[in-house]
């Protein structure tokens, strides 16, 4: 505290010496006021304004749609949340959109909240996926698939899922997807389930632009709610971290 006072005097002096015609000026400081539980005061007026909106939302958002065995959070290169969500979308997409989907790709930035352990309410699905994004299937050639793998590695990993195990690996010669099913490694073209946002080239996914495309017009939230509805308290959702994205720094 003493130190600050001293600084204050120094400033006064500087101002006085530096420019004596100046009405003295000083910036006192910047601070962040955290609105945590120790700030108890709320505004009645604001609460009243929010209330009717809140009532409409709560009636729908508090419905429990499923259960999760663990809290899932996102990280890079892969995470339980990213793997879990893309695996769920593969399951949904295969049964509702196209039974020949090879891969699901989302962007890390698009998963906006963690999934808590225990009951999952509708509101939580909105928290994770607030965007009104829909599911799109893009068809890529083998070469284009390599560009996709490279893009995902450039981003230090993104949420990816497949019907069975898939890996992205970086070699000195470039990045590739390696599917557990041998037959998938030799296909001529691949169907990628993704969001309309990425399919439009969002977040640097120019590899998806102007490619054969099927718009399902199904909201990603709708798909997630449908898949979570299959889980129960006894058989909750479980996600795995299984080494999908293998990054060898020696190959950089």
């Amino acid at each position: 505290m003493k130190l600050f006072s001293k600084h204050f005097y120094i400033c006064l002096i500087l101002a006085a010496l530096g420019c004596n015609r100046l009405p003295y000026t000083a910036k006192v400081g910047g601070q962040l006021n955290t609105l945590d539980s120790s700030w108890k005061e709320s505004s009645k007026r604001i609460d009243n304004l929010i209330q009717p909106y809140k009532a409409q939302i709560d009636s729908q958002m508090n419905i429990v749609v499923g259960y999760s065995a663990e809290e899932l959070i996102k990280s890079r290169p892969e995470s339980a949340l990213g793997n879990g969500i893309t695996d769920l979308l593969i399951s949904y997409g295969t049964s509702h959109i196209n039974n020949d989907i090879d891969l699901c790709v989302l962007n890390y930035g698009g998963l906006r909240a963690p999934l808590p352990k225990g009951p999952i309410v509708v509101g939580r699905i909105y928290e994770i996926m607030p965007f009104d994004n829909t599911l799109v299937v893009i068809t890529l050639s083998k070469e284009q698939l390599k560009s996709l793998a490279r893009h995902i590695l450039t981003k230090s990993g993104e949420p990816i899922g497949a019907k069975r195990h898939v890996k992205i690996m970086n070699y000195k010669s470039g990045a590739i997807f390696q599917f557990e099913e041998d037959s998938l490694n030799v296909k001529k073209s691949y169907n990628i389930l993704t969001s309309n946002y990425l399919a439009d080239g969002g977040d640097g996914y120019t590899v998806f632009q102007s490619k054969p495309r099927f718009n399902s017009n199904i909201l990603i939230r709708t798909a997630l709610i449908a898949e979570f509805s299959k889980t129960t308290q006894k058989e909750p959702f479980k996600a795995v971290i299984d080494g999908r994205i293998v990054w060898d720094p020696n190959n950089e």
Binding site: Q31, D47, I50
Partner: protein, 303 residues
């Protein structure tokens, strides 16, 4: 007021307390003092984070923020309340009501101005224009071209506020929308070089309109590993801007970052993180002018 209620992060709580009890500061309070309050990226976080959220549970909330702002206004009549964009998107409030409540709440809190973030285009230009009647404050941006869109004439490049004896010029800059927002949402909004346009406007504010303090609301993002324009690169190449209140990267900046601009003057950069977890506050004490940059900035380290 009870400064104990101002919860700063970590050890700075003690500093805040010390600062408040300094007699020098109280003297300042009786003179013309200006508090700049600011938020960014509140992403429709109307209520505090839910209690199953983990890291941020219980934090934020419009009602608590409004109460805090009200308290600060009682203490100091010269307050400027600003937002750096991405007001929209993130909770069901946006999905259900399209941002109407966000703007109503900001109007109730008496925001003075906001800039536009990429997510503010998430319901398209039409979706943004539809909610604008609920905002009692102006939207500021000087590097988007709105000609031929429904936003034409609805966004100002800058605004000058008179607070006590001080003239404060506020301008806004936005991030390149291509690649972040679907083209069909932002339509014919044209992105222009933010540094050049901000410098032109800041020159006008400082030198023609004689503003004592020039603040830029930025949604460019704090810093990138790539050469993408950020608040850091912008600040270095800027002139006539004193303070950049940033957004987009959800960066928690607890002390003003100092950057030397192209005229060897200090520019301060601040950002509050996101979601209304924090209310940023930076105070200026002055008799009437904000001219001596050196004197200003040796005080910034406090807090």
């Amino acid at each position: 007021m009870n400064r104990r209620d101002f919860i700063l992060s970590g050890s700075k709580a003690a500093m805040g307390l010390a600062l408040a009890s300094s007699p020098l500061i109280s003297v300042g309070k009786n003179r013309s003092s200006l508090s700049i309050l600011f938020t960014n990226d509140w992403h429709s976080r109307i209520e505090p984070f839910p209690m199953d959220e983990g890291r941020y549970q219980g934090l934020g909330g419009a009602s608590k923020r409004a109460a805090l702002i009200e308290r600060i206004r009682q203490e100091n009549k010269h307050v400027l309340l600003l937002d750096s964009g991405d007001i929209f998107q993130g909770t069901p409030y946006f999905n259900f009501f399209g941002g109407k409540l966000e703007f109503e709440l900001m109007s109730q809190m008496k925001y003075d101005a906001a800039t536009l973030g990429n997510h503010d285009f998430d319901n398209g230009i039409d979706g943004l224009v539809r909610q604008m009647p609920f905002a009692s404050f102006p939207f500021l941006n000087c590097n988007y071209g709105f000609e031929g869109t429904k936003l034409d004439g609805k966004v100002l490049p800058y605004k000058v506020f008179k607070k006590g004896g001080t003239r404060v010029g506020v301008l806004g800059v936005g991030i390149e929308l291509t690649g972040l927002v679907s083209k069909k949402l932002f339509g014919n909004v044209q992105y222009k070089d933010p540094i050049q346009h901000a410098n032109d406007v800041a020159d006008h504010l400082k030198n023609k309109l004689k503003c004592d303090l020039v603040i830029c609301l930025s949604h460019l993002g704090f810093e990138y590993k790539t050469d993408k324009v950020s608040d850091i690169t912008f600040a270095k190449q800027s002139a006539n801007i004193d303070l950049i209140l940033g957004g987009h990267t959800h960066t928690f900046i607890e002390r003003p970052i100092e950057v030397i601009n192209k005229r060897s003057k200090v520019v301060n950069i601040l950002q509050t993180g996101w979601a209304g977890i924090n209310l940023g506050k930076i105070d200026y004490e002055a008799d009437s002018y904000f001219e001596d940059q050196k004197a200003q900035n040796c005080m910034v380290k406090i807090s």
